[in-house]
């Protein structure tokens, strides 16, 4: 199982030598084979192996006839196996290969906009909604998260704007609460990327309910992490807290609800060799200590309402 978020596309040129031309012929043949139900499964497998070495695979997938329709067909055809849950390992692997190709389309700058305009990510949300703990479901959730992760990794405003019109935040929060360590990491990474965007940060800090939901889940994660430590997950959690502290109203709330485990020596061991997370944590404390600046006074306190966030 590979986690694709964070892996750069290598820049192997797709044309040039005769060997590459031969390779390109094969790629085209597989793309054509995606159209036919009989040849599709093998083509999905072969193409998903090649998705990181063929630079322009995404526009080829998007612009060839029927390819995206075929990938959507793969997704919808397993919906009946989601609820009641009886997804087999074979079904899961097959649809995950289709998702891997969609991830390629989501990552490429020439196809990303069209991918969003056709609302394709929404077809993956039913998979994120599942709670079944079996391997086929876990793998499906993780791969679906990978597609959304690939979208946010591009730091495009368009992606954040799209995601904010959907229910991705509650879906990620649920996985952050109940998922496997790997799923939690990708879900938290997605939340972090949304927060790092100005629109995303103000969206989450717009109402008390939104902020307190996010703060509550992050708090629970810190508690869980204090029992089962994971450096890479903690890193994203800390980054989320730090970013929240950039919002004046969230900062006020965090002064009261930041979990103690982040302040004491609970994570000393995990943090020992992770200088960037240690730095983020120090910056977070510094932000929280700082008094409200004159800048903040321009914005009337929207979020800190009579009711204060509960201590976690």
């Amino acid at each position: 199982m590979s986690l694709n978020v964070g892996m750069p596309l290598s820049n192997v040129q797709s044309s040039g030598s005769s060997q590459n031309a031969l390779e390109m012929n094969k790629i085209c043949q597989w793309i054509l084979e995606l159209n036919h139900p009989d040849t599709r499964e093998n083509a999905l497998l072969e193409l998903s192996k090649k998705r990181e070495v063929v630079t322009d695979l995404a526009p080829m997938l998007w612009n060839s006839f029927g390819t995206i329709a075929a990938l959507l067909q793969e997704i919808v055809s397993i919906y009946p196996a989601i609820n009641p849950p009886h997804l087999t390992a074979h079904q899961s692997n097959r649809v995950c290969n289709a998702l891997a190709l969609l991830q390629c389309v989501a990552s490429h700058q020439d196809t990303r906009s069209a991918f969003l305009q056709a609302h394709i990510p929404l077809w993956l949300y039913p998979f994120l909604h599942t709670g079944c703990k079996t391997r086929p479901f876990e793998y499906l959730r993780l791969t679906s998260l990978g597609v959304i992760g690939a979208l946010v990794k591009t730091d495009e405003q368009e992606v954040i704007n799209f995601l904010l019109t959907t229910e991705i935040i509650p879906l990620c929060l649920r996985i952050m609460e109940t998922g496997s360590e790997l799923s939690k990491t990708v879900a938290t990474f997605i939340l972090q990327k949304i927060l790092l965007d100005e629109t995303g940060l103000s969206y989450i800090c717009q109402t008390y309910e939104r902020f307190s939901h996010v703060a509550m889940i992050l708090g629970k994660m810190v508690l869980q992490l204090s029992k089962e430590q994971s450096g890479r997950l903690l890193k994203h959690v800390v980054r989320c807290y730090l970013r929240l502290s950039d919002n004046p109203r969230a900062k006020e709330a965090l002064r009261q609800c930041l979990p103690d485990q982040l302040k004491d020596t609970t994570f000393q061991n995990v943090l020992k060799d992770d200088t960037s997370t240690k730095r983020w944590l120090q910056q977070l404390f510094k932000n929280l200590e700082a008094p409200a600046t004159s800048n903040n006074q321009q914005q009337p306190s929207l979020m800190i309402q009579p009711q204060q966030p509960r201590n976690l």
Binding site: C28, P59, M60, H86, A118, L122
Partner: protein, 288 residues
């Protein structure tokens, strides 16, 4: 006679009970539902039986509008974009429309299935329990004390779970078909101008093609996978959309709207894989 309450969880893949043509939107879900009369609760209190079917219809109606709206909204957005893209160089609007309709039918049904099944089952179980309790309390022979005995609670629980499980597929199929029929009308509206451009071009003796798309293909796409102008596309993937509908059995599939402008609603009704249903009642209600 008390039976242990069953855990309402199916882990076996279920074979769809209904074909698309089994579902008649005019008669509602009631004719499709058979209530198991051998349930201990219904043997002891036959009065309860009368409220069950109308109750189920009400539960379906409550979820119908939001479920249908959500499924249609997402599907139309996706289908419109993908069809416009794939058929940009297609001059024949009937081919384009046929593909759009088959994709819309398949994907709307899938989205409605996955969106509505869980909330509907939860709602059925919750509300059926309340309804049955209300009915029982009104019966002169039943005391409030009796209803709250463990034995009675188990019997109600068992009946509620069985009835809900038995009814869920018909209910979801009804919502799915409602969504699909609405979506088919809507996708025609969304693509109307596309169809018109093609008709217009043909009337003027031209072949429609989107020149921007054409230029892109010549610049960027390897020859093999370029969409060719004016040639009849291999439509396999769209035909595949028409071969089955998620959640329905494959018998009695609606026909593709390739030539006639109207959906062929008059296709003979086939009752398949389903027993205990009044065929006459269903068929008589099917004439539109």
């Amino acid at each position: 006679p008390v039976q242990q309450p069953v855990v309402t969880q199916t882990t076996q893949p279920c074979t769809p009970q209904f074909s698309y043509m089994d579902i008649n939107l005019n008669t509602g879900v009631m004719p499709l539902i058979t209530v198991n009369e051998n349930l201990p609760l219904l043997i002891q209190f036959p009065q309860v039986k009368n409220v069950i079917k109308p109750f189920i219809q009400t539960a379906v109606n409550e979820l119908l509008k939001p479920g249908v709206e959500r499924s249609i909204k997402i599907t139309l957005m996706t289908v419109e974009h993908i069809i416009k893209k794939d058929f940009a160089l297609e001059g024949d609007e009937t081919r384009m429309r046929s593909a759009a309709q088959q994709m819309t039918r398949n994907m709307t049904a899938g989205m409605a299935l996955i969106t509505c099944r869980e909330p509907l089952l939860v709602s059925l179980v919750d509300k059926l329990k309340t309804t049955i309790n209300t009915v029982l309390q009104k019966l002169p022979v039943v005391s409030a004390q009796y209803i709250s005995t463990t034995q009675m609670k188990d019997m109600i629980e068992y009946a509620v779970n069985t009835i809900s499980q038995d009814a869920i597929e018909a209910c979801v199929a009804f919502i799915q078909k409602t969504a699909v029929e609405d979506a088919l009308v809507e996708i025609d509206k969304r693509l109307a101008s596309e169809y018109e451009i093609r008709k217009q071009a043909r009337a003027e003796g031209r072949l429609h093609k989107d020149t921007n798309v054409l230029a892109y293909f010549h610049e960027r796409m390897p020859e093999q996978i370029r969409i060719k102008t004016g040639s009849s596309q291999f439509n396999v993937v769209y035909e595949e959309f028409g071969r089955y509908i998620p959640g329905f059995s494959t018998t009695g599939m609606p026909s593709a709207p390739s030539v006639s402008s109207e959906m062929q609603q008059s296709t003979p009704l086939r009752i398949t894989n389903f027993s205990g249903i009044n065929t006459d009642e269903l068929c008589s209600g099917f004439k539109r």
